[in-house]
């Protein structure tokens, strides 16, 4: 492993290769920061453009786009409460309250440093632990994935909010929405109302935008605030460096990185789940769990670190087995194939300079993110908040409208956005939390499909669900996550 790394390093350090990583990171930040566009979209658009280029140059662009795009989603999530993907929902929970408290600059600083730490740990894990983590990921079958999904759903316990019954209702609404579309096991269409648009289920981008971006826009119009955020709120030096508080964040960075790497390395489980698990873990170990969801920077750190740690780790099964750990990893696999590189063990043997070069580029792009991301997020995107709210709200609407439209090129999605947004406004007014709803929509279908698969493989025997040590470990973790808030409450009494 060391020799291929040493051989790849001079190529990666060439000026044009570094420029590729930098261009990719900048493009990724822009794409990620615009609702409706994701790193996946950016890489998919980029692949045809890279045809005929040096493979390492093309992969440098993709590595930068991946890390930049993944972090870029945090910017509108924190500043405007617009999560571009489910992976940035946990960032909204504490990031936006910090913005409302006039600490947008600090929230962005926490998010960028946490994302850089997570992405760096992830890239190092990709380099060092790839073969080992592949063996771990191969221990996961449908039964284990079912329990992983339940573990993710158990994190709802930390997101329910002050009113447990309303939190439970929100979760159940999410799970019910998650059943919409064609049931892949039987081919039955459920709750599609004979509309083709619902055949693949309710579009998650429409749901996220409606749930999180719409209510604050209406609040801004309702309040008719004719002033914007004070310039000082975006001033980084005002609250000092986040690194000065490293003792406060270090345990969260370590734990969230580990969670992100492990979840990212599981094929198909990565993406949004790691940030929820990391957020839940940070809240669980916190001495002040009641401050989460109200502007605790540790919540932002956990979510962004978990999210960043997921990035390179999701490439572990992609590069070594050809199984993508996330949607972005799937597109990158396509990018490798375009350049004649077939993922799998042979890739490491036949093209070690490229595969290890790509791993190093993931590492460099993570480090570049600290410089480019910090500057872009605070000095450019953050300035939008200085606009008067009555002007900012329509501007956000213009961006999310085209963002939502561009997902499926459908005006039907715009009508759905209006309906979901209207409903979300009242859900929020009545204190129903939105995060458990999203978690239900994302994890419900995974849990159901994996349960069906596990039972089919196991001949309908329920024992198949608890047949492996990994399943039992997941069950223990799920029970532990569910009981932690209860134990905490009992202790406080």
């Amino acid at each position: 492993m060391i020799q291929p790394l040493i051989d790849a390093l001079p190529h990666v350090l060439e000026l044009r290769m570094l420029a590729a990583v930098a261009i990719g990171t900048i493009a990724g930040l822009i794409v990620g920061a615009l609702p409706g566009l994701t790193a996946t979209t950016g890489i998919a658009v980029m692949i045809p453009l890279t045809f005929g280029m040096d493979p390492l140059f093309a992969l440098g662009l993709m590595a930068g786009m991946y890390n930049g795009g993944s972090y870029g989603e945090a910017i509108p999530a924190i500043l405007m409460r617009v999560p571009g993907t489910p992976a940035s929902v946990a960032t909204v929970l504490d990031g936006y309250p910090l913005t409302q408290q006039g600490r947008a600059g600090y929230a962005l600083q926490v998010s960028i440093i946490s994302a850089v730490i997570g992405s760096t740990v992830s890239a190092i894990s990709l380099i060092i632990f790839a073969p080992l983590l592949v063996k771990l990921s191969l221990m996961f079958g449908p039964a284990e994935y079912f329990w992983v999904a339940l573990l993710g759903l158990a994190t709802v316990a930390s997101l329910l909010g002050d009113d447990l019954v309303k939190g439970l209702i929100a979760t159940l609404i999410g799970l019910l929405i998650g059943t919409m579309g064609t049931d892949l096991t039987t081919g039955t269409e459920r709750y599609t109302f004979d509309m083709l648009e619902f055949a693949d289920g309710f579009d998650i981008i429409v749901l996220l935008t409606g749930l999180f971006a719409f209510p604050p826009m209406l609040f801004m119009i309702e309040e008719a605030m004719r002033t914007g955020m004070d310039k000082s709120a975006l001033h980084l030096k005002r609250e000092g460096s986040v690194l000065r508080d490293w003792r406060r964040f270090l345990p969260v960075w370590i734990r969230s990185s580990i969670i992100g790497v492990i979840v990212g390395a599981l094929p198909g489980a990565g993406g949004s789940m790691s940030c929820y698990l990391a957020y839940n873990d940070a809240k669980r170990i916190s001495k002040e769990p009641e401050t989460f969801g109200k502007g605790n920077p540790v919540g932002v750190a956990a979510s962004e670190c978990g999210n960043g740690a997921d990035n390179a780790a999701s490439l572990i099964p992609a590069l070594t087995l050809g199984i993508p750990g996330s949607g972005v990893a799937a597109v990158i696999l396509g990018g490798l194939l375009v350049h004649g590189l077939r993922p799998g063990p042979a890739l490491f043997k036949d093209h070690p300079d490229i595969v290890y070069g790509f791993m190093l580029q993931m590492l460099f792009s993570a480090l570049l993110l600290a410089v480019i991301g910090g500057m872009t997020a605070t000095r450019i995107f953050g300035q939008a908040l200085r606009l008067p709210r009555v002007v900012l709200a329509p501007a956000i609407m213009l961006i999310v409208t085209l963002g939502v439209y561009s997902v499926n090129n459908s005006t039907f999605d715009l009508a759905m956005l209006l309906i979901v947004g209207f409903g979300a406004y009242f859900l929020e007014r009545l204190d129903y939390p939105a995060a458990p709803l999203v978690l239900g929509v994302i994890l419900g279908p995974i849990a159901e499909s994996q349960l069906n698969l596990a039972l089919t493989i196991g001949g309908g025997q329920v024992q198949a669900l608890v047949a492996s040590p990994m399943s039992i470990l997941m069950i223990v973790l799920t029970v532990f996550v569910l009981l932690t808030p209860l134990i905490g409450a009992l202790r406080r009494r």
């Binding site: 822009i30 794409v31 615009l34 409706g36 566009l37 979209t41 950016g42 658009v45 019954v165 309303k166 439970l168 209702i169 159940l172 609404i173 799970l175 019910l176 059943t179 049931d183 096991t185 039987t186 039955t188 459920r190 709750y191 826009m217 209406l218 119009i221 309702e222 309040e223 008719a224 004719r226 606009l387 008067p388 009555v390 002007v391 900012l392 709200a393 329509p394 501007a395 609407m397 213009l398 961006i399 409208t401 085209l402 963002g403 439209y405 561009s406 090129n409 005006t411 715009l414 009508a415 956005l417 209006l418 947004g421 209207f422 009242f426 007014r429 009545l430 159901e448 069906n452």
Partner: protein
Amino acid sequence: METDTVALNPPRRSAEITFAAALIVVAGAAFTAARAYPDASGTYPQALAAALGVPALLVMVRYLRGGAEDTVILTHPRRFLTGICGIGLYILGVAWIGYILPSLIFATLMPLACGYRHWPTILGTAFGTVAMVVIVFNVLLERPLPDDILAPILRFLR
């Protein structure tokens, strides 16, 4: 000033009860619809629908017994109506005549409707945002815009 719109602004208690009742109706409808699905596809949504009805009923009972502060739902009903109607008309406009014109009109009229009159900021933001969105989505990333009556002009410019 807002008293004439109080009919549009129900007390919190009524809103909670109405919303919980609506959830029970939705749960009932979802349960009934799920009974028509084959076993393997129907059991899970049926269980979820039944499970949704129970906490919704709990919430309704809680507020029927008087568990709510004496507040209203909307802080400014007129502005809320202006906002929701404006957004609704904007989305209709985008569907019918394209993205650019409705966006410019919406981003200009909405601040005016809220009493903001600083024209350079309003127009700068409206034109700047539309230009940025069109350049990034349509020109750089080649994502299609909704069918636009200004499409011939855009093609000419490109």
